[in-house]
Amino acid sequence: MIAEHTSQEARAFLVRKRLWQGFTSWANRVAGNVFIWPTVLVVLFLSIFPLVISLYLSLSHLKFVKGGFEIRFAGLANYRKLLFGSEQEHFLGLIVNPSPTGWLVLLTVVAFLIWSLIGYLRSQHCSVGGAAGRIIATLIVSLLTWLLVSTLSPGGRPGTVVVTILYVFVGIAAQYLLGLGLALLTTQRLPGSRFFRVVFLLPMMITPVGVAYMFRMLTDTDKGPFRPIWQALGLGLTSWVNDPWGARAAVMIGDIWQWTPFMFIVLLAALESQSMELIEAALVDGANRWQIFWHVTLPQILPVSTTVILIRMIEAFKIVDLPNVLTNGGPGTATESMTLQAFITWRSLDLGGSAAIAYMLLFLVTFVGMAYVNLVRRRVTEV
């Protein structure tokens, strides 16, 4: 009887032990998930939730009714308005038949894209996903090129998409070249190079609103500091900001002035950390300065260059402060970027339209970013 009782107790103990072990094993398995959930919730709340809400907003109209407001589902009406409706000219621009040069550029780009695509499809690395991605990229790049050439041809007018692309690509190209030039100069151990390192960094420390006001004064031919020069040149009664391209140039110069230091400081660090042995070896082999730069220095700083360009590109697509303060998006809508258009649309309480523009910007930045990473950066860093 006693032996039977003891054996039952032992069994119960074993069951409890097994249960406990099962529980602790389960707890060990799920602990990671449990601990990560608060972070996931915070990320969802701060990032995904606004994205979903703004997606819904972009598919709706806001209406003020008695006692509050209502958000009515409107399908793709806001996107239709931007791409095919009354906002098309504002958003995409005035599309005309491209000029002969425009056609040449378009055909060259499309031919290059198709050649690259065929090359990929024939290669051994070809996969379904890769092919699909490249076909989509070819289509989108071709469309963007068509938009660029047909809005920049005589009689056309660039909309906010094209203006933003110009700000990004022209601005970043200039910033990179100037930043690299200044960085190369600073590494030459010239007298005062330490002082200039600090001076070159100053524009980046100034708030963009301050930069915009400063350039507003600089471009004022009537009251600005360059007034005597403008008057001497007989341009006292002309204005940068009255001409669409003058105003765009003013915005780009301001942006280049402010962000060149960022390129400069990163490229300076890259130049200073490059392997001296390779340069010395090239010198021993009789390479001149240009050959050293082109064949030794540039390949070494390319990975850093592609990263810094990617960071600036993502940031530059969101340009808003400079055109808003410097020109208020004008004259007309000449200097309006996509972000500024979204802001102005939001300000007029068209929340749906504003969200639709923001989503179009998100698509554009994501596409350009992914294409850049896949087609440029990966190749450069793999070399």
């Binding site: 109209h61 003020f64 509050g68 009354s86 009255n242 669409p244 998006g329 004259p331 309480l349």
Partner: protein, 529 residues
Amino acid sequence: MKSKVWLLVTWLVVIALLSACGPAPTPQVIKETVVVTKEVEREVVVTKEVEVAVEVTPTPGPKPFEGIEVNILTFTGPQIAEPLQRRGPDFTALTGAKINVIVVPFNELYQKILTDMATGTNSFDAFVFAPQWMVDYIVPGYLEDLTDRVKADKAIEWEDIAPFFRDFSATYGGRIYTIPLDGDFHMAYYRTDLLEQAGFEPPKTWDDYLKIAAYFHGKDLNGDGDPDYGSCISKKRGAQAYWFITDFAASMIQSKGTSQGTFFNTKNMEPLVMNEAFKRALELYKETTKYGPPDELNLDVGDTRSLFTSGRCALSIDWGDIGTLAIDPETSVVQDKTGAVITPGSTEVLDWETGKLVPCDEKTCPYAIDGVNHAPFAAYGGWSGGINAAADPKVKDAAYAFFSYMCQPAQSNVDVTIGKTGFNPYRISQFLNRQLWVKAGMSPAAASNYLGAIEASLASPNMVLDLRIPQNQRYQGVVLDTAVSQYMAGEITAEQCMKQIYDGWEEITEELGRQSQLEAYLNTLGVQK
């Protein structure tokens, strides 16, 4: 426990001491000069001064709004916010209510007010804004009906407010929702000395305006050796400039009286922009830029006013502000050199049926003066105070008392003569009492000229009423402003501009309902269906 008791006793003593430090309530009697004026002829002013004692503090009783704070939202000053901020402390001394004036840029004011009330945030108790926007605030029930308060308020002297501002700007659907603080009309300003020297008459038509502007453009107009400008008109996008194109267009579109309207066809709500008159208006407006400052497309009204008062412009189109800014001895070099006249008109007007311009005659222009059709534009309607219906009742009372105080002749008769306030005359007594203006620094002739221009506009049977249909801010502040600024920048042609406005306005009308928008438009024009 003992320490807590000591702490409590200490706090009570401190509070008692602080209370004792406050000023003892003593009755204040202020001697105020009341000017009673009777105008015999336009230039002759008869003045009788009477000293009366006004008791401003009914002490020793408690102040009626002691401890109450009123948050008032308006646009970034200095104008408009300045008088509110300056008179706030005086009002606090009188009533105990503290006035907090919060400012936002002009292009954010409309939506800031709307979103504050619509989202139930209600962080502002009252607003000073454009009365043309009131329809968007009244329909959803956000604005307080002030009719009973106004009727019970003798001090506001409601009947002294000019009928247009009292019955149109302040009233919606027969009820009063705003208190006028300002009277707004567009006028043409000119340099009297320059025109006299050159033998020009003040501009009667837009062609005259352009001729005078072309003559003076590039000449030194203020003696500083630098070339100056023939015309200065604010043309900045997203600012207070989008009303000016209507001055040009209305003089050719509206010729048969106020109820004809200038924005839409009263039969079907079709925008009146796809016609020869609007095209001509765009061309004239653009031509003024040739004689303006180089960065005119980026100038707000504050900039063009400064240019005019610093003697750099021969002509300008503006609200009443230039008239009073010109007499400020600290900033103006054109004191007694500034003339004002009803906005120029046209000798050709639109045939609504054909969309073509036809010459003015008795039939086409029944209100023409010397063969010129003038259509003075009551743009904006004058800054006015409205109260948030969701505010605390006591705060609403305090807000109303403040607006009433600002509107009462004792305050407003002074404020409308000060340029930096941005307030222009809107009371009958302010037009009749020239002495106010002489006292502020105008010569009797200049006062008559300035007030005469406003009176001529106000009395015109062909006055243009500003758009006051639901979402008028989208029609004008977004669609019209964007298209016209693109045209001025040379980005689009006149035809493209007209089409863009037409399509944009039609889109809003369709979205909000054609019939309801048409009814609202007809109601504002006073047209009986």
